[in-house]
Symmetry: C2
Subunit: 395 residues, 2 copies
């Protein structure tokens, strides 16, 4: 075999998910995309805010020499300044330009953080259900993932986390609002988590970082507000992107921010700047950096996703599927009526409904439904859901 | 220490180069940027072609839903088709859409290739003088670099390469036109290299890939043409970017192309598509993909760099510095009049001339001079070079 053994294994292991996607693509080709209910992809379909197009047109029109040239690996200073100003409001901390690095999306950001932190076999705790790529981001840089399940409401279990912490724990990676569950952690539980990490780090004479991946921060429902991570511990790192709140996932623009009072902060910032370069990102895309600098207060209209949630919940209620009401993001993670989530996905496919089996997120017996499609499409899928559930129960 | 030990070492080891850059920045602040002769950075200052701005404005004006959304990890099909068509002409091979992956620049591309190919401790041969980041790209993915020096003309030494090949050799990474030397390999010597890799692979029952990093392909002088890599062996991989020929380094847009007749090609393409995703690039920036699709025939005017080369050679001749005439790219790599290249850089700095010591490229006793500055600035540096050489010889 010519390719790396590990990559070959990864490709083989993920092939059953890919096959599902391929089957979906085949289905769209056969029946027409408009006749397939595709809830499988978290690809935002809500258009970017109007101001994005205005800013982009202005930037392109006012193009000046050097606007597409290299800049410092961490990003333009004025862009980082703009991000720091907005973040200071969101996090309730005095974040400076130097505490922020612009990155190639949140995925790029997480790779940079892991590369900078992990010694061989250092452990990173992630909570299930999890975004499956987290495993790769840790493994890419020689770390080991330790999975801790969440409770029935998909909230974290502090005692279980405490039990999982060891001398080798370098970080816990959380994602709130969460993909795939749509759940959010409260300020109180986050405070308790921060305190636990600090006291455990003290006990082991280590530092345990709280890494918060929060691209859905601005997509929250019922008038809620995502709590500050930086209020929980000085060993906190926020990673985010403009993929979801500005609907720009293809443009790969995001950032890392470290707690302004973090111990040995400059060491970490230097390492991350170097990692951004040597991992091949070099810098976040120049034009999009300039664009997001002017869009710090902007976001897609979260109420569009909230309305879709209502419609989807009605569909699931009528089909008799159980779920925990999402507090943000654009995912539902209902229980399947039979234990075999892959089989249930197959039954849904017979109804031209595409969903991802929960085992893809480390939690079998569930499916992930992304509401990145029109409310009308969601409503039309109702009968298909009912029939699939009936078939499942009839088995 | 909280950051990864390896990253801390990297940061420490590269700090003397960084200090030089910092000193340069300090110098510009003190004397004004226009009074400092900065030849240290390979940051193209020639503006992108006029058509780039037209295409970009058209794309932004004609923006349609989903234009900034996720697309296949390897890039838009029509973009890859456009790249494949142009590459087929350049490489004299029938390259299809499926043989091409769009990437976050050539640096991203090389990380993707290394991640896809390397098992732990697999060896990658690079030639000195080398682009220093190559070490990181190999090390990031668990590989080991083996350095083979080039000859006095900076051409590769086939016998030395043959001696360096082992059962663990996974690839040789070449860069032509070359950074830092400006040299280019001939079609004949490349053919001999391809044949050597093929026969050695056969002997060891392995595959040895020829990876060609060629972002300077279109910046060649004296009416020359960069030869085809794909003519040399079916185990060839071309990596490139639009950073230099379209002067867009900050936008991070490049590609990988594999030989259309490569053995187990699909395995490698699958692995690279997965690597592009899990390393956190996810995909190449969407808008810039669309832009370069329409700019396949475009390039900055290489004659601007060629004119600067003439001016710079005159400056070096007058100062009595020896060099090999660059055939492409925008670098000169002269010998230093004293063995200690760092000390000679210090003497140049006294004349407000910034250069990078050759040891940064694995070849002490030289300096790298990038001609990414106006010919006038180059001409004005003449007296400074003369004085620095005189001082060096007087020591």
């Amino acid at each position: 075999m010519t390719v790396a053994k590990k990559m070959q294994e990864f490709a083989d292991n993920s092939s059953w998910i890919r096959k599902m996607f391929e089957r979906g693509a085949g289905m769209k080709a056969e029946f027409g995309a408009e006749n397939v209910f595709d809830f499988s992809l978290g690809n935002p379909d809500v258009a970017p805010p109007k101001k994005f197009f205005e800013v982009l047109a202005d930037l392109v029109e006012g193009d000046t020499p050097g606007m597409h040239a290299y800049m410092p690996n961490g990003g333009y200073h004025y862009v980082r300044e703009a991000v720091a100003t907005q973040l200071s409001k969101e996090q309730g901390a005095e974040i400076g330009m130097g505490d922020v690095l612009m990155t190639c999306g949140a995925a790029g950001a997480l790779n940079v953080v892991m590369k900078s932190l992990l010694n061989p076999d250092d452990e990173v705790i992630i909570l299930s259900p999890f975004f499956v790529e987290y495993h790769f981001y840790v493994d890419n840089h020689g770390g080991a993932v330790k999975i801790v399940p969440t409770d029935d409401e998909f909230q974290f279990d502090l005692a279980a986390i405490e039990e999982a912490l060891t001398e080798k724990t370098k970080a816990i990676l959380i994602n709130s609002p969460n993909n795939p569950t749509g759940q959010m952690y409260s300020a109180e539980s986050l405070a308790a988590l921060g305190a636990l990490l600090d006291s455990t780090g003290e006990k082991f004479c280590t530092t345990i970082y709280l890494i918060s991946d929060e691209p859905y921060r601005k997509i929250v429902f019922d008038g809620a507000k995502a709590p500050s991570i930086m209020a929980t511990t000085t060993n906190s790192i926020v990673v985010s992107s403009y993929s979801k709140d500005l609907s720009l996932p293809g443009e790969r623009i995001g950032y890392i921010a470290v707690h302004p009072e973090m111990h040995e902060k400059d060491l970490l910032l230097n390492a991350m700047t170097l990692a951004n370069r040597i991992l091949g990102f070099v810098n976040a895309p120049a034009l999009m950096q300039r664009a997001v600098a002017e869009l710090q207060e902007e976001s897609v209209d979260a109420s569009i996703y909230e309305q879709r949630r209502e419609v989807f919940c009605k569909v699931l209620d009528e089909a008799g599927l159980e779920y925990v009401l999402p507090k943000g993001a654009f995912y539902l993670f209902p229980k399947t009526p039979i234990a075999d989530d892959v089989e249930f996905c197959r039954l849904l496919q017979e109804e031209k409904i595409l969903a991802v089996p929960g085992r893809g997120f480390g939690t079998p017996g569930h499916i992930r439904l992304a509401f990145c499609v029109d409310a009308e499409v969601i409503a039309k899928s109702a009968d298909g859901f009912k029939r699939a559930v009936a078939k499942a129960k009839g088995k």
